[in-house]
Amino acid sequence: MKTVNQRAWLLILPVVICVAFSAILPLMTVVNYSVQDIISPERRVFVGTEWFKSVMRDDDLQGALLRQIAFSFAVLVVEIPLGIALALSMPARGWHASAVLVLVAISLLIPWNVVGTIWQIYGRADIGLFGAALARLGIDYNYTGSARDAWLTVLLMDVWHWTPLVALLCYAGLRAIPDAYYQAASIDGASKLAVFRFIQLPKLRGVLMIAVLLRFMDSFMIYTEPFVLTGGGPGNATTFLSQYLTQKAVGQFDLGPAAAFSLIYFLIILLLCFILYNWMQRVGTADKEGGHG
């Protein structure tokens, strides 16, 4: 008979305790709030799924969700191709390579709220370089007044801040391709486009998957930049999900609905990441299935 060693439980206990205090207990408090109506610290009423229902029917929330999805989608559509293009044009060796790497990485070192402040000033039509330049060119640009301008500014800000991350990931991926592939392609008479399509892009699959997931999750949780830039305005043109949530929880102190929505928010991210990950995995492993078929 096989002896069962129960000591393993003891060994994972530290991890269980750490995870419990850092993740499970806080999450359970949120679950706790989401099913109660807290009228005052002493008076609370169990309301079941009431908050979930009302939050799901909330027009503001649906608006924020649609804006959020559109924003994250735009971020991926702009940043991923731009990052690949940037990585392809970066020098591979010599002192140029080191210099360019440092330059590209600079924006990644700037904190979120500083990025917001930079662009808030940069985009002002009176004193900001960007805003004033556009104004001189006769373009009517005003991120505090126009919903479209505010939205574009937030997108531009995110592209400026995070495209270098995609570029660095792709750059690392490109450098990992053995020289023999390029030599073989040159012998096979492949054009530059064919080299990109049949060698570089397939070999970048792994890093691109990481880049897409990171940029998706991060942009889906964007908070600080639009908060600093416009506070979610004009109107609620740049009110994304986390800002909406903060308004509910901190601004209006509606702990119940905020908690219910936090859980929904969490599940949305989890679900979308799951779908994205599986889709990208399948794009890659379609190759392998063919081999065994």
Partner: protein
């Protein structure tokens, strides 16, 4: 198809000063149209550099590469119309096996029906027909390398096909099979093939002419038997053969030669005034002799190993009166009495196949 003439030198650094700075020392070499050649040498001897210069991936720092008398030094691999197969399989992950094989043709705008026919032929030859519609990425390493080989062979009009240790990743039993395939393909297609390897068996079985290289120098070009019987350089004697040639210091004296304290007769070989030379004899040609036999010296047996089809005898020669000892190995047939370790035997060193070297270069070989 083309005749290839090389007359060049190459250094990877900007201002080479000593010989050590050169990856390839000045050399002049020709590969005949339709020949099968092997570049053989240890790692770092410059054979891959030479191959990449022929294909155009590396531009020689000095000299020219000519195809059929036309200077192609400045041309790209594509313009030279070269095919090359690399040490590790290079396949296009997202394509099927058939698409991989068709890629070099498709890039050159060959008509689809001709591509299909040619891919079919090559797949047939390499036994890939059953896998043509599979994704190349999921296949085993040897199948991938077959695809690489196939891409190298798929174009009919190439100037030459170059192989850079293409069988490194292949299992030993498949190696034999693929090597035979390559030879067969060479006979069928009459392409110029240049094959780089550090494995002498591979080189000698594949190629009609083997170029032996060491330290950026091509020391001898010849057929398997020439390399075996008449090594032009001590390196060739040492590198070809298993084990390699035995070398002993010797001094010529009149009509004889002093080896390991004994004067042996040279019977009219004209080495009289060479002074100090190196005597080289293959273990296959070292035989047991009777005491004081002609051309024989006494040797102490240090080891006798049974290799299966033959015995390998390791002995020490010389050392009497404070002189240096030399190790002499002999391959002996299994049908004779094999001396044991510790015994003293007489070994014939000077015979029909003995070679003599001065400054590592062959000066004379024995003739019967």
């Amino acid at each position: 198809m083309a005749r290839i003439d090389l007359d060049l030198a190459h250094a990877y650094m900007a201002n080479p000063k000593s010989d050590d700075d050169y990856a390839l020392l000045p050399l002049a070499m020709s590969f005949a149209d339709g020949g099968a050649y092997a570049l053989l040498g240890p790692s770092g001897c410059g054979k891959t550099t030479l191959l990449n210069i022929v294909s155009g991936l590396v531009k020689p720092s000095r000299g020219t590469v000519k195809f059929d008398g036309v200077d192609v030094t400045a041309r790209t691999p594509q313009q030279r119309n070269i095919a090359q197969v690399f040490q590790f399989p290079v396949i296009y992950d997202t394509m099927t096996v058939a698409e991989n094989l068709a890629f070099p043709l498709r890039n050159r705008g060959v008509a689809p029906d001709r591509i299909a026919r040619r891919v079919g032929q090559i797949a047939e030859m390499l036994e890939l027909s059953g896998q043509l519609n599979m994704r190349a990425a999921g296949l085993a390493a040897d199948a991938k390398q077959k695809i690489s080989l196939g891409r190298g062979l798929v174009r009919e009009d190439v100037s030459a096909v170059l192989f850079d240790e293409p069988l490194t990743v292949i299992d030993p039993h498949l190696k034999w099979q693929l090597r035979r395939k390559l030879k067969q393909i060479h006979q069928e297609l009459k392409l110029t093939l240049i094959y780089v390897t550090h494995d002498q068996v591979e080189a000698l079985t594949f190629a009609e002419q083997v170029v032996v290289m060491t330290r950026g120098r091509a020391v001898q070009t010849g057929s398997a038997s020439e390399l075996f019987d008449r090594p032009q350089h001590t390196f060739v004697g040492h590198f070809i053969g298993s084990p390699g040639m035995n070398f002993l210091p010797a001094t010529t004296a009149g009509a004889g030669i002093d080896v390991a304290g004994r004067r042996l007769s040279l019977a009219g070989r004209g080495l009289a005034d060479l002074g100090a030379v190196t005597l080289g004899v293959r273990p296959e040609y070292v035989t047991l002799a009777g005491e004081s036999g002609e051309g024989a010296v006494p040797a102490r047996v240090t080891q006798a190993q049974d290799i299966g089809t033959y015995w390998l005898l390791t002995t020490e020669v010389g050392g009497d009166g404070g002189g240096a000892t030399s190790v002499v190995r002999a391959r002996l047939g299994t049908r004779q009495a094999i001396p044991k370790a510790g015994e003293t035997v007489w070994l014939t060193l000077v015979g029909a196949h003995t070679c003599f070297y001065k400054d590592d270069v062959l000066v004379a070989e024995a003739r019967s």
